[in-house]
């Protein structure tokens, strides 16, 4: 995180401040950051997400216990100093598994969100802006919405799992497969919302003004329309991350994602549910991690949306 941009550094634009374009960009970023910091929830979200990410990606290097080490002598223990989150039915340390499980869950969550977001925004923009593409693209969207997802997943996994595993390796192959599957089946809502917004924005006078200048359609889309449909896109992004993490767990649960021995938050959760009566804490830890991540992302998205709106920025 760059905290270097203190308010004092954002000098009020005067005389020569316009001199270079670089100046504008730096001050824009500083403006956005300053407004973002005003949003308490977003700051807390950013903090929590940072902690969770550090714990998942770096934590396992420091945490002394091996997440795969089986010791049935200490199975199903409640939290203690030796095992802060207890142990599972095979005596593996739950904390170690939750830490390393976050790697896959967060990576899958964000990657799948970006895939879905990119597809949805792209298709929504095209459908909304170019009237000729609207019909075909939206019917295509309807088609995806109507597709029964589970059979599709089964076929996809059967067809692509082995080739991908051979080419990219065991975990990477499955990772790519899961990300693509989740991304390709979650973009439709975004596309619809974006299209609806684009339809409204493209009738605005400033779009007509851009056309009268001679701005090319590609630039009109990227410079005038996309920034103005950002709010629904950001909302879709924060919700999409949550859905992706949960869908990944559902996939793994069905045996279509990562193998059951591979710790991800979703797999930990579904494994733990069988021991709910013996060791309820085991369900709570991965559940809490998923919830906190989802909540943090939502708050960050909220703060980001406000910070990117020049109107709210100057009011704050």
């Amino acid at each position: 995180m760059t905290m270097t941009n203190q308010p004092g550094e954002v000098e009020p634009v005067s005389g020569g401040a316009l001199a270079e374009f670089g100046g504008r960009h730096r001050s824009l970023r500083a403006d956005v950051w300053r407004q973002f910091r005003r949003h308490k929830g977003a700051l807390i979200g950013l903090f929590l997400l940072t902690v969770i990410m550090l714990g998942s990606y770096i934590g396992p290097f420091f945490y002394p216990i091996d997440p795969f080490e089986i010791d049935t002598a200490i199975a199903n223990q409640t939290p203690s100093w030796g095992h802060p989150m207890g142990t599972d039915n095979l005596g593996r340390d739950v904390m170690a598994r939750v830490l390393i499980g976050g790697r896959i869950s967060l990576s899958v969550g964000f990657a799948a969100m970006f895939v879905g977001l990119f597809l949805g925004t792209f298709i929504g923009l095209l459908a909304g802006y170019f009237r000729r593409l609207d019909g075909p693209l939206m019917r295509f969207t309807d088609l995806f919405l109507a597709l029964p997802i589970l059979p599709l997943l089964l076929v996809t996994v059967v067809l692509f799992r082995e080739p991908l595993r051979e080419r990219l390796g065991e975990s990477m192959g499955i990772f790519v497969l899961v990300v693509v599957i989740i991304g390709a089946t979650s973009w439709m809502q975004t596309a619809r919302v974006v299209r609806a917004d684009v339809l409204a924005i493209k009738e605005e006078e400033f779009v007509l003004a851009a056309r009268s200048i001679g701005t090319r359609p590609r630039r009109i889309l990227s410079r005038h329309i996309l920034p103005n449909v950002l709010s629904p896109v950001i909302v879709a992004a924060s919700l999409g991350t949550a859905t992706a993490i949960i869908t990944e767990s559902a996939l793994s649960f069905l045996g279509l994602g990562f193998p059951a021995t591979f710790p991800t938050w979703g797999i930990l959760l579904s494994n733990a549910k069988d021991y709910l009566s013996i060791n309820p804490a085991r369900v709570i830890w991965p559940g809490v991690m998923i919830s906190v991540t989802v909540m943090s992302v939502n708050f960050i998205g909220d703060g980001l949306r406000d910070a990117l709106d020049p109107k709210l920025r100057s009011k704050g």
């Binding site: 634009v13 005067s14 005389g15 401040a17 316009l18 001199a19 270079e20 374009f21 504008r24 001050s27 824009l28 605005e204 006078e205 400033f206 007509l208 003004a209 851009a210 056309r211 009268s212 200048i213 001679g214 701005t215 090319r216 630039r219 410079r223 005038h224 920034p227 103005n228 990117l308 709106d309 020049p310 109107k311 100057s314």
Partner: protein, 343 residues
Amino acid sequence: MVAEFTKEADDPAGSEERPLVRVTNLKKYFPIMKGVFRRQIGSVRAVDGVSFDIYRGETLGLVGESGSGKSTAGRAILKLEEVTDGTVAFDGQDITGLSTQQVRKLRPRMQMVFQNPHASLNPRMTVASIIGEPLLEHKASKGRERQERIEELLTLVGLDPSHANRYPHEFSGGQRQRIGIARAIALNPEFIVCDEPIAALDVSIQSQVVNLLQDLQNSLELSYLFISHDLSMVRHIADRVAVMYLGTLVELAPVEELYDDPKHPYTRALHSSVPVPDPVVEAVRPRVILEGDIPSPSNPPPGCRFNTRCPVAQERCSQDVPEWREIEPGHWVSCHFADTPGW
């Protein structure tokens, strides 16, 4: 001023005669679709056969009530709408058949100022990037040069160059309209369509903006098509005035002639709707009050389009379409009885 775009000054001799913009029988119909299969069941004739010329350095006022097709005509002339029929010749070149790419090359020479300064500026862009967009798009200047040009433009329209990094919502309506004007003149155009540029502004600001437009016209040799429903403002700024009713022109004349000696009954009615700033005169002056509303442009009345509301309509008016004729040099009108004295 630093002119990146030099106008083609090497016009052949005698170009005084050639209008900068010549609009001939311009038509713009919007289809009306209905039903599951989106069949066309009719069309809105927003602009239905309009012809006029705009000469270099002049301001042509285009007046008419709401829904008369003024704005559509303005947009069609700049090819922001596809033209249904007729031609628009810009500097002798017919632009109606040109491809988007070809029109794009002409864009620097013809620009537009919009009606609503709150909607015509992208809320997510700074003033500098709004004004710089035409410069960027047409690669007119870059880097430091562009920044200087932006500052220069801001000064030219009476804004503080140090406000360049602000966003549109931080400005008042009048200031925003100045930003819109700065954007329009950024590439040194020859022709600007002003689409009701003052309609959304406070009265106190209107004259400032109109004066700015006039100053710019003098210093930059601009030609304007000034669309408005404000007759007194048009009288102030225009050299010639065209009156539009239901998609067609009813009268076109030099400004003083149109105001002192209107030939068309619709022009008279419009004229008499302007209040006189003298309570004594205002109380007693004769007024022509039009009844009813402007008919639907999807189903215009036969004959003269104005016959349903015309105070002096005869039987003939609902059958024959009046011819668009020049009854005095430079004074065009479409009314059967325009030269009948004493009606």
